[in-house]
Assembly symmetry: C2
Homo-oligomer: 293 residues x 2
């Protein structure tokens, strides 16, 4: 298998790296003078869930690194039941690749892992993008049992990626059309696919969400210790992790800009991919110590 | 008096236009192929309160039009005690200039007037920027009597623009330094100045804020009728019109993006002027029917 001419998640080969007793699966593509961008994935998502309309433009100016955490896709081990456990694996993965400095883009669960990684080892991270996620102590994080979400999870007609169109996009014709296009883009990759996540993956990740909702002491106090420039992004109609969690991130991170998208839910980055990759590109191109770009 | 070579609010002459029995003062400078940008000012602010670091870069691609509403600066008449009354004057002013289509940037009180103008005569407006403002039915709008603000208004040592450094900027060393730079920029204009607003102006505008906090029927329902692409901007530490009002705008306007700035208060546009004018320029350069840029 050879690297393709145009860096893309449609064609990038899946690679494996061994660290201690663990094997991690990843894809790494793109080039340019920018810091590598580690991308951390959502609930049950694998390498195949990264939209090429988001990853590929970003890969034109830097290496994009997609990562399967422990127990996901072709990574070995078991899925941790805490965000902290996932952050430990992701840091070990970076060590395995010999990456000492990078940017990080965390989507949903991945955004929680990103926050924890930055707290655990701040020197590694230059800039961070937190999409559709929540701070520790956030509210209404991935409560799939609530009626607005369970109706989709309990619908046997929604198989495979079809459920993503429902849960990542707003219930408007325009957002649903964007969801359909997103699903079609994911379908462009047809070989070298990750195995899908099963119910044990989901159960462990849900346990991690429940733990992440807990806090002791002053609420959101951890965020004061994240000095990296941050870009916080969400759709205003996110039912999975409501946008007020992004508001809290923007209010309590000392160095964050917030960007919200209209007519969009959890998957605003996929719906408004042209705008999203443009803003992320400008944000990452900045070498200012401050988030505004 | 002649128009200067470089379009700037430091040097642009104040002009007068007669409409019916009213005279409105304004400045108009800049050029380019963009729609004219009408700028609507904050509580007690005059033409002299527009920061050249914001207006001048925007004037490189369009005409920027600064406007004194009735009873402000050298405009005749009395200050209306409602936002609706101010919107009527501002629309009459546009009629007086013969402007049938434009963009609008409303800051604070000016953002409320902008919303009302767009509701009253939607065909005039192409795109809108709402900075540090609130929807009708918003909360905690310009309550100058609350301790966090009254300590500045009751301080006899804070004269002239010095109070703006306190009330428009966050109480951090970095934000206060930005405030000092802002005040210095305002001081660059030394001639052809507007008379300062007196207590009668303030009282009428405060009455308008109190009226704007009221609503009947479904809260924020008016916003559904604003289909123009909107860019909503605020600092997360705004004490004058707290950022949650901007959150509501972003959640209820059907076609709005929200951008928030860290370490900044009411005057985030002046503190982060390079970023602000960049985002506004990109937003206004778009001809998409959708807000994302």
């Amino acid at each position: 298998m050879t690297t393709t001419m145009t860096p893309s998640n449609i064609t990038a080969p899946t690679r494996l790296v061994e660290v201690a007793n663990q094997t991690y699966a990843y894809r790494r593509f793109g080039n340019g003078s920018g810091s590598p961008l580690l991308c951390l994935q959502h609930f049950t998502g694998t390498l195949d869930n990264w939209d090429p309309a988001v990853t590929d433009p970003l890969a034109s100016a830097r290496e994009v690194i997609l990562f399967d955490n422990a127990g996901i896709g072709r990574s070995t081990g078991t899925v941790p039941e805490s965000v902290a456990g996932m952050a430990t694996h992701a840091l070990a993965f970076l060590d395995g690749l010999g990456i000492e400095r990078c940017d990080v883009l965390g989507f949903s669960l991945g955004g929680m892992v990103a926050q924890q990684m930055v707290l655990d080892r701040p020197s590694v991270f230059r800039r961070m993008i937190l999409v559709a996620t929540a701070p520790r102590g956030g509210e209404d994080i991935m409560h799939l049992e609530k009626p607005k979400l369970s109706r989709y999870f309990n619908d046997p007609g929604l198989q495979s990626y079809a459920i993503l169109q429902k849960i990542f996009f707003a219930p408007t014709a325009s957002s649903q059309a964007a969801g359909e296009a997103f699903v079609a883009r994911l379908g462009q990759r047809t070989g070298d696919l990750d195995p899908r996540s099963g119910p044990q993956v989901a159960a462990a990740q849900i346990a991690a969400f429940r733990e992440w909702e807990q806090y002791t002491g002053e609420r959101f106090a951890d965020l004061k210790h994240i000095s990296q420039p941050a870009l916080v992004v969400n759709g205003v109609h996110d039912e999975m992790i409501p946008v007020r969690n992004s508001f809290w991130l923007a209010e309590h991170l000392p160095n964050a800009m917030l960007l919200t998208y209209p007519d969009a839910g959890h998957g605003s980055l996929f719906q408004w991919h042209d705008s999203f990759q443009h803003h992320v590109s400008e944000f990452l191109a900045s070498n200012s110590p401050f988030a505004p770009y």
